[in-house]
């Protein structure tokens, strides 16, 4: 008892001291921060039911930024003779801004208000609450105390006083439905996919040897995959990772499409939507497309060059293993609900502002690891292609897929350090507090844009150029011709690689960059049409005079030609700056880059998967399922992205979590039809998403009971068809004399390809030491 009383005395002393120290806070209780959780221990320690507090004037759901006048009142309390109940209050609102209008109430901060000394004897008060500008659930906690007015009595100021608490929740205009938290949906789907992946893994192991299906055998088998430096195994790992994240990115796209299917939808809140589109972009580019390219490159480049492995096998393993860990970092934020919400472009200064979710730091950290991974990949492939081509294979006899990987890696290699440095700057700004993009210290937001797009534009070509390579192989092989204009194909690809570095300014036509630079990049961007045009016409000409065999990969290649050409044409609208100022950041842009990245890159990948699957696994895929896959995917794909062009011109803005349609012509929002088209797009998106499961099904069926594949099922000429299907564990090739070894390339053309040119001779003089040449001469 004594303890309790002395505690009370101490509290009273502290309060009195605080009152003296803070003359502005005359009230009792003073603004005790954090009071909303615990209640107050002044005016009696226990809450009383006889005090009934209420807030009037709160809507059930608020309108953005609207001001509401709240009346706070209470009834009941410790009545005494000759005294009416009166007291004070403390109101806390989790969001929005409180303000007071008269002398009876005061503001502690924008979330907390209480009574003033003058208002300490009221039964009701008025405060104003301005709703937040965003979609949030707002909690209000109100404490009132009801005093009996014995403050000057014997028992001290507080005895017999009562208090009470009431909590109210108010939703935003777009109500958040707890039951369908999309993060939970995404989480469950990812976990389900990962479990399916694990089951598949176990099943694959079981199929290998049903008798040895136990942990003692499984652990080393798994460890074998985790430690392998074999280019084929790493290539497979890249594919597993790439396809997995293609699925994850696809799920995110579906959630985005559900949100956009009807105007004003409430499936996602803005904050969630922002994270979903950010993660969708980052996942698709860095965790799906890039690993799949590396999967193809790992598998096929050494095989096409006639090499045993890549130049640096352990570095190759390192490139791969950086990626899953990077993915973990990138996704850490989203599971805690604080994922990166910056868009894949991560424009400064938002990316370093405290407004950007905390997951943004991890998003940058993960991408730093991906940059490291890409750099190592670049070193590996450039070295491999420079030094490990089989005898007889000059630069101009490399298969076009290898050429495409070479061009892609040169682009990536020379551009990604800029991105890496930018990311490190962002990471340091967010972690150790450097000031690269601190506007208050003179930082420049455009610096990030330059560093990012210097990388970002070559990057989108890095993603699409390998598909050019695949399509060149597929079309030539399917037509039973050699590719039309091999040399101009190579020069066109190299041209794309060079142009890539000087056009990035077209992403910044409306960024406040100097008009001169914009004009220059307008001209260079127009130039992109020339090499891509050459490539498209060469592909078409390859078919001329051939005899096209319709296989699944042929269909995908022809589909690629259609969609990529359309995407290329829509791309020509952007360099015309007067149009770009309207189209920039609209759905027209979304439609364009999905046409080139899905219709270009992904269709190319599908062609590549159907083309090389027999080589990699030794099993044929079902043609019937393949054709079904192509037809459903091609139709639903076009239905999905084609209408977006029109939506963009109408004024539908990218990265907006919702949109509104109106019949009022004057208002200038989207017309009514936009709602219908969006629903159509969503339905098509689901069809497209599920159509790709036909491929998954095909793969499963093929692994279980696929026909055995011959060494050269399609009639290609390059070295990968010279080895067995699947290739032996230590890659070697079947030579003409029946033995296994490294082949020599012959050339059906009469020209001397292997004589080093002047550039090569110059390189040699530069790099070969005297000693090396001496050794050679000995």
């Amino acid at each position: 008892m004594v303890g309790k009383r002395s505690k009370g005395a101490i509290v009273a002393l502290v309060v009195i001291a605080a009152m003296l120290a803070l003359p502005s806070a005359q009230s009792f209780p003073t603004g005790i921060s954090g009071v909303q959780q615990s209640g107050c221990n002044c005016h009696g320690a226990v809450p009383s039911d006889s005090v009934v507090a209420s807030i009037d004037g709160l809507p059930e759901s608020y309108n953005y930024s609207e001001a509401y006048e709240l009346t706070i009142s209470f009834q009941g309390g410790p009545s005494q003779e000759g005294n009416v109940n009166q007291g004070g209050f403390h109101l806390w609102a989790s969001e929005g801004t409180l303000s007071v209008s008269d002398a009876t109430a005061q503001l502690y901060n924008q979330n907390e208000a209480g009574h003033t000394g003058a208002g300490n004897d009221q039964l009701s008060w008025t405060v104003t609450w301005t709703a937040p500008a965003t979609d949030k659930n707002v909690d209000f906690v109100l404490h009132v105390n009801s005093v009996n007015g014995n403050a000057d009595g014997v028992g001290g100021g507080t005895s017999g006083d009562m208090w009470s608490k009431v909590a109210i929740s108010v939703g935003g205009p777009v109500e958040v439905l707890e039951a369908t938290d999309p993060f939970v949906v995404l989480g469950v789907l990812i976990i389900v996919s990962a479990s399916l992946l694990a089951i598949t893994l176990a099943y694959v192991f079981y199929r290998k040897d049903p008798d040895a299906f136990d942990w003692d055998n499984f652990a080393p088998w798994l460890a074998g995959w985790m430690t392998s430096t074999d280019h084929k195994k790493i290539g497979t790992l890249y594919f597993v990772a790439g396809l997995f994240f293609l699925g994850v990115g696809g799920i995110m796209a579906m959630i985005i499409r559900i949100q956009l299917s009807v105007p004003g939808n409430d499936f996602l809140t803005q904050e969630q939507y922002n994270q979903f589109f950010t993660l969708h972009g980052t996942t698709m580019i860095f965790l799906a497309a890039m690993p799949m390219i590396n999967g193809f490159a790992n598998w096929m480049v050494p095989l096409q060059l006639g090499a045993e492995d890549l130049a640096l096998p352990r570095i190759n393993a390192m490139s791969f293993w950086l990626q899953p860990f990077a993915a973990l970092l990138i996704f850490t934020g989203i599971f805690s609900g604080h994922g990166a919400d910056t868009g894949w472009t991560g424009y400064a200064p938002y990316v370093v502002s405290e407004g950007a979710h905390y997951g943004t730091t991890m998003w940058a950290a993960g991408q730093i690891m991906l940059v490291a991974s890409s750099t190592l990949t670049g070193i590996n492939f450039l070295t491999t292609m420079a030094v490990m081509r089989a005898p007889g294979m000059g630069w101009m006899q490399m298969p076009l897929f290898s050429w495409s990987i070479l061009v892609a890696n040169v682009m990536l290699f020379l551009s990604i350090p800029a991105f890496g440095v930018g990311l490190i700057q962002v990471y340091l700004d967010r972690v150790v507090g450097t000031a690269f993009y601190d506007i208050a210290a003179g930082g420049d937001p455009l610096l990030w844009s330059h560093l990012f797009w210097y990388f970002g534009h070559p990057e989108v070509y890095v993603v699409v150029v390998p598909s050019f390579g695949i399509i060149s192989e597929v079309i030539a092989t399917s037509s039973r011709r050699s590719i039309f204009g091999y040399r101009s194909m190579v020069y066109a690809m190299a041209g794309i690689g060079i142009v890539a570095f000087i056009v990035y300014g077209h992403h910044m036509f409306t960024s406040g960059m100097s008009p001169t630079l914009r004009f220059v990049t307008m001209l260079t961007t127009m130039l992109v049409a020339v090499p891509t045009g050459i490539k498209v016409f060469n592909w078409l000409m390859t078919m001329h005079g051939g005899s096209l065999v319709y296989r699944t990969h042929t269909l995908w290649a022809l589909g690629f030609l259609v969609t990529f050409t359309l995407g290329g044409i829509s791309g020509m609208f952007f360099p015309s700056i007067a149009m770009d100022t309207h189209l920039h950041e609209s759905y027209f842009v979304v439609a364009h880059f999905h046409y080139v990245l899905v219709g270009g890159t992904v269709f190319g990948f599908f062609a590549g998967i159907y083309y090389w699957w027999p080589k990699a696994t030794g099993k044929m895929l079902s043609e019937k399922l393949g054709v079904l896959h192509f037809l459903t995917a091609f139709v639903s794909y076009n239905a999905l992205f084609w209408p977006m062009h029109r939506l963009g011109v109408w004024g539908m803005t990218r990265r907006h979590h919702t949109y509104f349609v109106t019949t009022e012509e004057a208002l200038g929002s989207l017309p009514m039809e936009a709602a219908g088209w969006n629903m159509f797009i969503t339905v098509s998106a689901f069809l497209f998403f599920f159509s790709n499961f036909i491929l998954v099904f095909n793969i499963i069926v093929s692994s279980i009971r696929g026909e055995d594949a011959p060494d050269d099922p399609w009639g290609g000429w390059s070295f990968e068809w010279m080895t067995s299907s699947p290739p032996p564990a230590h890659t070697l090739y079947k030579l003409n004399d029946g033995s296994w070894g490294i082949p020599t390339l012959k050339d059906a053309n009469e020209h001397i390809a292997n004589e080093p040119g002047w550039l090569s001779s110059w390189f040699q003089r530069l790099l070969v030491t005297d000693e090396d040449t001496e050794e050679e001469s000995h």
Partner: protein, 372 residues
């Protein structure tokens, strides 16, 4: 594929190089995991420059420990490379690198990307150096009032190049790196010498690599002195240092990434007057003060961007030196075990390429950040 397969020795190392390069290794997996842990925990310990408490710090070292463990596995596989006389050094087949070691080509390619890294850092620096008015210019323009910070660019060279003593650590570093470039070449030269005693060769290589290692350590030590520690001067030199007994570190001078109210005595009209040399009479500030429109005083500057570019660019270079030290530690150890022979000297050459590059970058960093 199990461990006892003679063609697939343990992925933990050591590796038998007679069977060619390793087909399996835990190093990539573990290294990647370590990097992820490090980046994750570092971001847990600091937020916008605010330290989040010591509780998070051990985890950072867990991350670094995992990275170190991964490196150890890598080296354990590598240390026997060339030791038993067998040499596995694949040569390039195709033009234009015919007969060049593959790893040498890879090193050159790697340096290409390193060049882009420093180019990006330098372009950041130049954007700010030329885009933000220098503090001297702002001071002399008189467009400031005492008590409110102005944004301006204060090159570190303003502090560092202010006296011979300040520049001493940087100057020593320049020579340290140049000498270390020489010692690494000497190590290579002795490693390639066929007509000397094996033991002499071993000791020479070890010594030259050890010297290189020592010079690299010296470089980082000097950096610490320059950034954080400062150093005392013997008494007879005090008069050449405005009577001060120590040379202040950049830290003590307040040249920090969070320096939003940085002050320097050269931007103080009172100091300039009391020290005789006064204010430049051609400056606007002088004219304004003469006309009575500017009260003078001590200018306060927000130099966060200047400090950031300085510390991050020179710090990135320092990190490359640190990477070199780690590599050199391993190589010195290997040299002491007799791992480098005339047939297997190339690793020193490849490291030398990297080391020369680091040296070359310093040759650019030094004038840009220390002198200009």
């Amino acid at each position: 594929m199990s461990y006892d397969d003679p063609h697939h020795p343990s992925p933990w190392g050591p590796h038998d190089w007679k069977h060619g390069s390793p087909h399996n290794s835990w190093a990539p997996f573990i290294l990647s995991m370590g990097v992820a842990i490090f980046l994750f925990t570092l971001a847990g310990a600091f937020k916008w420059g605010e330290f989040q408490g010591w509780g998070k710090v051990p985890l950072i070292f867990v991350g670094l420990g995992v990275v170190g463990f991964g490196l150890l596995i890598w080296w354990r596989q590598d240390i026997s490379f060339g030791v038993n006389g067998e040499v596995f050094e694949p040569k390039a087949a195709g033009a234009p690198f015919q007969n060049i070691d593959i790893r040498k080509v890879a090193m050159w390619v790697f340096l290409m990307s390193e060049m882009m890294v420093f180019t990006s850092l330098f372009s950041t620096y130049m954007r700010y150096r030329f885009g933000i008015a220098s503090c001297q210019t702002v001071f002399e323009s008189g467009e400031w009032v005492e008590g409110a910070a102005v944004i301006c660019f204060e090159p570190a060279s303003h502090l560092i190049a202010s006296s011979w003593f300040h520049i001493a650590p940087g100057a020593i570093n320049t020579f340290a790196l140049i000498i270390s470039s020489f010692t690494i070449v000497q190590a290579l030269r002795y490693a390639k010498m066929r007509d000397i005693d094996e033991d002499v060769r071993r000791r020479k290589i070890t010594r030259y690599l050890g010297t290189t290692w020592f010079l690299a350590i010296l470089f980082l030590t000097m950096k610490m002195i320059e950034w954080f520690l400062g150093f005392p001067l013997p008494e007879f030199l005090h008069e050449f240092n405005h009577g001060d007994s120590t040379i202040n570190s950049l830290y003590t001078e307040g040249y920090l990434i969070n320096a939003d109210h940085y002050q320097h005595h050269e931007y103080d009209t009172h100091y300039l007057e009391s020290n005789g040399h006064g204010l430049d009479h051609d400056s606007d500030l002088y004219a304004m003060m003469e006309a009575g429109t500017h009260p003078g005083g001590h200018m306060m500057a927000n130099i966060q961007v200047s400090a950031t570019t300085f510390y991050v660019t020179t710090g990135t270079h320092g990190a490359h030196v640190f990477g070199g030290i780690i590599g050199l530690s391993y190589m010195t150890l290997k040299a002491a075990r007799g791992g480098y022979t005339p047939d297997n000297a190339v690793s020193i050459e490849y490291f030398g390429l990297y080391w020369h590059f680091v040296d070359l970058v310093w040759v650019l960093v030094f004038p840009f950040f220390y002198l200009y």
